[in-house]
């Protein structure tokens, strides 16, 4: 029976095992047989035994006992044995295994073998797992092959040199002359390798980089040849001539043109040509265009060329292929701060991508949209963002909410708009907002004194509709406690009048106190609010007294403590109650302290009344319409 059938036979047997246990059994038997075979003298089936072991290794079973066999097979004069031996070395050995050093000599001999296919095996293996020591040892050989051999060997030697330079950067100097000469090669494989080698050399050595800048005209010439050449059966992919080579050349040009006007000038026309003439209907062309855009944006290109590049990205946004839409957005994200205006022109398309099916595209669209918000477009952008928030996937909600808050902070056209926006977010995505949202919103509300009536009405309505969103409930409780008297008055300019009795308010707060949906912190808010109302309402103070005394025996320690203190306030310190529960002064952020979620009222603590200070503007003052009051709605650092 021919040995290769035995390998496939083994694979068949393994695959037909019905359980994991059965498979393990088969493999153990096979491995035992293989081990025995390894110990025997050469029997013509060595390569197939190793191949079997490699298959078993791929299934996840240990195969280290095959390492020495690899070393032996590599040293064999037979090509088929060398081939499997080298494959085994690449799979089982890496530079961290001691056995890998043992093959250095074989590789050295095979590099000089008369058959180029044997040379190829050695080159491939060296480039795959050559250690620094092996690289140092064999570098001169590689250099020799770079200069005088067939294209087949040169292209492999070039990539071997790349590996060596990565492992032992000092050896870069050795390869630089040969690398320069290789640019004159016509063979695409060799040229491709040469470009990679030069890129590697330039990235590691500043002097080499300067030296290779002189090669820019040559590279431009090669690139131009590719772009204008007709169909070639060898290299054309979807109408593009050797996209792999084109991309690598563009990458090299990028490195050479960076921070250098002369080099950038020399490539300007070529880049424009590639940008305009490359067909992006298939991935190959888009890959080239994408690389072109990256290069244009990274070098010192003319503004016209930059605009061209951004427009390409804009066109990509409209592409049917979602991969292309996705990379367009990642690229736009990178340049949105440096080329803000150019990207703004594509804002409409970007916002449309918020509705894309693909979650990654949605995420990118969100990032970009947030980056594109400005004072001019805040209202329309916020509409889109709030719409997005209500339908977006759960993993994006938190990020969207923070982004919206940031944008509102910076660009609110009015305080009322600001408060409305935050309320909207709390209603839609209350569970996903950060802890600081509650004190921040409270602070905002206290600062908008002319809106207290409006705010408390709105919050009361929201509370009565839904008590599940904790941040919203907390803010609502706080406001009701603070501004409950406005609520009772009934009319308010900004909103529809509503009849609210003292009992209604206390009902709402008690519902919060008793609900299983309320967190301990929320209940704290509700209790304190109830207490504060004792100085703002007139008729139901007894009801408040009884609520407070009930919670004096509550299991929650925090609530219990509060209730007991409030009880004391009613009993022994009733003369102080009005003063303690007085309206809060306007707060500014620095006086809020380190507490999270709770501000004001609890316990006998007084905040120093501070003057509302002029907030520092993060951006230049915007022409925002204001409802009145001294401050624009926003501009605080976040």
């Amino acid at each position: 029976m021919s040995p290769s059938v035995r390998l496939q036979e083994m694979i068949r047997v393994i695959r037909s095992a019905r359980t994991q246990g059965e498979e393990r059994g088969v493999i153990q038997r096979e491995c035992a047989a293989i081990r025995a075979q390894f110990r025997q003298a050469d029997n013509g089936g060595r390569s197939h035994n190793l191949a079997k072991l490699l298959y078993v290794h791929m299934l996840g079973y240990p195969a280290h006992f095959g390492q020495m066999e690899c070393v032996r097979l590599i040293a064999s004069p037979r090509y088929n044995e060398k081939r499997v031996g080298y494959l085994g070395a690449m799979m089982l050995l890496d530079e961290n295994q001691d056995a890998s050093l043992l093959i250095t000599n074989s590789i050295k001999n095979d590099l000089a073998h008369s058959s180029q296919y044997v040379q190829s095996l050695a080159l491939c293996t060296l480039a795959c797992m050559g250690s620094a020591e092996m690289c140092r040892d064999l570098a001169p050989e590689i250099d020799r092959l770079l200069r005088a051999s067939s294209s087949y060997i040169k292209k492999k030697a070039t990539l071997c040199a790349v590996h060596i330079v990565r492992k032992v950067p000092e050896l870069g100097e050795l390869f630089t002359p040969a690398a320069r000469a290789l640019l004159a090669e016509k063979n695409h494989g060799v040229l491709h390798g040469a470009v990679i080698l030069i890129t590697e050399l330039c990235e590691r050595n500043a002097q080499t980089l300067v030296q290779f800048r002189e090669a820019v005209p040559e590279l431009v010439h090669i690139m131009r040849g590719l772009v204008t050449s007709g169909y070639s059966p060898e290299h054309t992919v979807a109408g593009i001539s050797d996209p792999f080579l084109q991309v690598r050349i563009l990458r090299l040009l990028r490195i050479l043109g960076r921070n250098n006007d002369t080099a950038s000038d020399a490539m300007n026309d070529l880049l424009a040509q590639v940008a305009t003439n490359t067909d992006s209907s298939k991935t190959a062309g888009s890959a080239v265009l994408y690389e072109t855009v990256l290069t244009v944006m990274d070098i010192k290109s003319e503004s016209g060329l930059r605009v061209l590049a951004v427009n390409i990205l804009g066109r990509f946004l409209l592409n049917n292929d979602r991969n292309i839409r996705y990379i367009s957005m990642t690229s736009l994200q990178k340049i949105v701060s440096t080329d803000h205006n150019a990207v703004q022109r594509h804002r409409g398309t970007i916002v449309d991508c918020l509705k894309d099916q693909d979650a990654s595209v949605k995420r990118r669209a969100l990032e970009l949209s947030l980056a594109l918000v400005s004072a001019i477009n805040i209202r329309s952008m916020m509409k889109e963002l709030l719409l997005f928030l209500s339908t977006c996937p759960p993993e994006l909600k938190s990020h969207a909410a923070s982004g919206i808050f940031n944008a509102a902070e910076r660009y609110s056209p009015s305080q009322r708009w600001h408060i409305d926006t935050i309320l909207h977010v709390l209603i839609t995505a209350g569970a996903d907002v950060r802890d600081e949202t509650v004190p921040n919103l409270i602070q905002l509300i206290t600062n908008a004194s002319q809106l207290h009536c409006y705010t408390v009405h709105k919050l009361y309505r929201a509370l009565v509709a839904d008590i599940s969103q904790q941040p919203l409930v907390q803010v609502a409780c706080w406001c009701i406690g603070e501004y409950g008297d406005s609520l009772l008055q009934g009319d308010c300019e900004e909103t529809e009048p509503i009849q609210v009795t003292e009992d209604d308010i206390l009902d709402a707060l008690e519902t919060v106190l008793q609900s299983h949906m309320s967190s301990p912190a929320t209940r704290g808010f509700a209790l304190t609010a109830t207490m504060k109302l004792s100085t703002r309402i007139t008729e139901n103070v007894d009801r408040i007294r009884s609520i407070v005394s009930i919670y004096g025996s509550c299991m929650d320690v925090e609530l219990q403590q509060r209730a007991v203190e409030y009880n004391a306030l009613f009993k022994k310190y009733d003369h102080m109650r009005a003063a303690v529960l007085e309206k809060m002064p306007v707060m500014d952020r620095s006086s809020m302290g380190q507490t999270n979620g709770e501000s004001g009222g609890g316990g006998v603590q007084e905040l120093e009344p501070t003057k509302p200070k002029q907030p520092e503007m993060m951006v230049a003052p915007q022409p925002a319409s204001q409802v009145g009051g001294g401050e624009g709605g926003g501009g605080h650092g976040f």
Binding site: H188, T283, D358
Partner: protein
Amino acid sequence: MVRYFKKIMHFLLLFSRQGRLRLQKWFTPTPEREKKKIIRDMTAMVLARKPKTCNFLHWMDLKVVYKRYASLFFCLAIDDQENELLALEILHRYVELLDKYFGNVCELDIIFNFEKAYFILDEFLIGGEVQETSKQTVARCIEASDMLQEVKHTHTLAHMLIL
């Protein structure tokens, strides 16, 4: 996870829809245990992707480009700075080479002839870089190597220069 040095490609994995590994090529030295973990993570991540999503994932500090061809997932991890669209082209080229060699390649071909799949890969990529951009050239080299394999001793075939 330690990255020893910057590379374009970090690893290439082929696995079935059930998560069975069919080919693994590592372009940076990685300990066995870590390889196993990466394979588990990759397989889980890629198999969990919904149908209408793009072919790119972020994982650690790498980009993972994957594509499904029939019952096999081809998965290539590239550096964060690299061109994902070109990576897709690389995967596609490899599939074309396999297809040309096996004729209408399917997963079973790769299972029963895994060493051939590696030999083909090694004529297309070296050290994590593309070595040959012409499909025909790669195909010719594989053919010539195969013929060489049929013969007992290599030194008698020193004259067999196809290229």
